[in-house]
Amino acid sequence: MSATHTISDAHDHHHGPAKGLTRWLYTTNHKDIGSLYLWFSFSMFLLGGAFALVIRAELFQPGLQFIEPAFFNQMTTMHGLIMVFGAVMPAFVGLANWLIPMMIGAPDMALPRMNNWSFWLLPFAFSIMVSTMFMEGGGPNFGWTFYAPLSTTYAPPSTTFFIFAVHVMGASSIMGSINVIATILNMRAPGMTFMKMPLFVWTWLITAYLLIAVMPVLAGVVTMMLFDIHFGTSFFNAAGGGDPVLFQHLFWFFGHPEVYIMILPAFGIVSAIIPTFARKRLFGYDSMVYATASIAFLSFIVWAHHMFTVGMPLAGQLFFMYATMLIAVPTGVKVFNWVATMFRGAMTFETPMLFAIAFVVLFTMGGFTGVMLAITPADFQYHDTYFVVAHFHYVLVPGAVFSIMAAAYYWLPKWTGYMYDETLGKLHFWLSFIGVNLLFFPQHFLGLAGMPRRIPDYALQFANFNWISSVGGFLFGFSQLILLFVVIKCIRGGKKATDQVWEGAQGLEWTIPSPAPYHTFETPPDPKLIHAQ
């Protein structure tokens, strides 16, 4: 063992990280690129969060206090776009970069130069998108769903730049997913069979296929917008024989799988963390894999549940209602399996576990409101209200975002070689947990009582819960600075982490030293180290 260490150290000496800025510009190392993605994602999280706080500040009281309606619409749009495409998706790609090679015993991603390019496209794409806010007429103001014709005939001139930014982001996502698929299919260590892969690898494999399937649809729909705006076509313009509803069908054919793109890797993360801290194997590994695949399949046949009020025929409404309700079955299986994993374990509650448990509880609440929204007649009341806002924020914030935070705390000692500050981690968890519930739970009530979404001002009966929601928003938002502090502190030093880090941790990434050397698994790991999950 010590002999191999010496060899790899000598190796590092020759091919270790370059110095200075060029290390990050030219890097093809999966760990460097993973870190770049994660830092980029965190900065976008803070920017998108700042936009959300502008929204919550304006909605603190009835009346217009701080911003004009035109700017408010830009804030809701940019908040959504940045959080979806800039914060959540790149965070999962960053985790994939860091973890997939280490989990399957591969030396790096399969396509390292493309990996570099797919990251470096992102800062340019988002600079273009954010710069639209400084252009004449302002940035995108039509919501992150950019329904035509509001986003075509009636859009600000900067929409062309928005379309270009979406194309660049889409190219980045497609390259990232090709890389993930190529890595998982070709670079598994001997003995790492499909049904021994950690669930994070499985969920990412399926997510990558979803991305490849739907990103071209998004690219197509924005290209049609571009043609409607500049080249006189009428894809979405009824006056020219086009169909505004076609836009929604195409958008949601992308958009619904996109929702699962943002949650399947989260399932993988939670399926790694809960067994570790319960000190017990994951319950029902096989059914977890099949449930993930079922959810991915169903995600392609439920898109029109976002469009129950556009006036589809009855048969269409019924089909999409039934198909949507079906998603509850595999999702339920996952939740039951996590509970069964905890059942009769020997649990401890370090920060990653706290975030993972909060994920299970709060994501499930988002799942419940999801089933309610699937019921078409009830959806006529819920649709486009704060009930929907509460629903998707429950699955995305204490869902996807909490899972990313759980992952950050869980693997941080492996990445940095030091334990993070547990007290501050727990403080961050509890403030985030209280903040997020204060922020989003009252929004269920607002929606049911009749408050539409995307309005800069509201009737007086909505005042109380908006006030509570805004307080929760600021608490949640500022608590994230603790995470930044904990991460920086952990990088700079602390208690040395062991190789295994956590008592119950299983998997190849825990067999290598902490911090993980710059190059790992240049020779495949001993097959005896590979266990069924």
Partner: protein
Amino acid sequence: MLSKAKLWLSLALSTLLFWSAGLHAAWDLNMPRGVTQMSRDTYDLHMTIFWWCVAIGVVVFGAMFWSIINHRKSKGVQPATFHESTKVEIIWTIIPFLILIAMAIPATRVLTAAYDASESELDVQIIGYQWRWEYRYMRENMDEEEVSFFSVLATSREEINNGVDKGENYLLEVDRPLVIPTDTKVRFLMTSADVIHAWWVPDFAIKKDTIPGFINETWVIVEEPGIYRGQCAELCGMEHGFMPIEVHALAPADYQAWYAEQQAGVRQIRELAAAEMSMEDAMAQGETVYNRNCVACHQPGGVGMPPVFPALTGSVKATGDVAVTMDTLVNGVPGSAMAAYGRQLNPIELASIITYVRNGFGNNTGDVVQPSDVTAYIEGGQ
């Protein structure tokens, strides 16, 4: 001791909650039950699913928190080693499936009923505009006067900008509400003149998109006379939050009287539009029309919000050829937020707003446009 403290705390909290509820009823937690069969069915469906979710939540979270409390390492427990059971997996696949079927059956029934818009007794066309609604009552006899009007937010800019206290129906009040009879099957035919809007009245459990180039239909039988309020539910641009819906449901006899009054009003305006208007009258009425229809985009003082909403002061369209001003107001500017007001405003209002923009904001053209000029322009097929 602890339980006593908890009791006091919960008492204090619930007192506070009820006290506040009595104060301004702003703690609404749930959907309104509404005033139609459809809204009651929807409410019942909503509550049924809600209680199913609560029951499932109690079982799942109950099991989870029981484990969290009892199966912790600090209690010295040894972890079990089981990790799969096909039998259990099959059970917890089938049970949710059966629950879903139990939910789907009533949902299908309610949805099917909602789709039956046949045999309506009154048809009203609803047209969405940026950012107002038009209501057009379908006539049985084409020789009758057509009753149609626009319905615009009545809350003042001063209230919105916190200059004065907000009224009880802040942002939920309009200048001319939709009026429909009770106990009558009213069919709504919905479309839009520009972007997609959605017409929503929670008490009716109706929400339907109004889409340019499409006509959607829905229907309502309101059982209790009253005032019902709603809002546009689909993001439709800058003033999306400021296009409320107000519906007055009247007993059928009262409705008939109201309808006859509207028809008489149409005849009266036709007569008035033939008369001459003075500069003073035109400017005074023009200001009212401006503040209701134009100020959101073109701003107080006509400064606009360039480049999207141009300034009116010194504008070529406002100060040049009067026919250009007339064309802009009557036909709008296609592909922009400037709506065609030819049908939204009557000839008197149109004439006065044209006079107002040509003579206000420092634009001293000195012209007075007469209602008859506007009528001639519109009838000339422009």
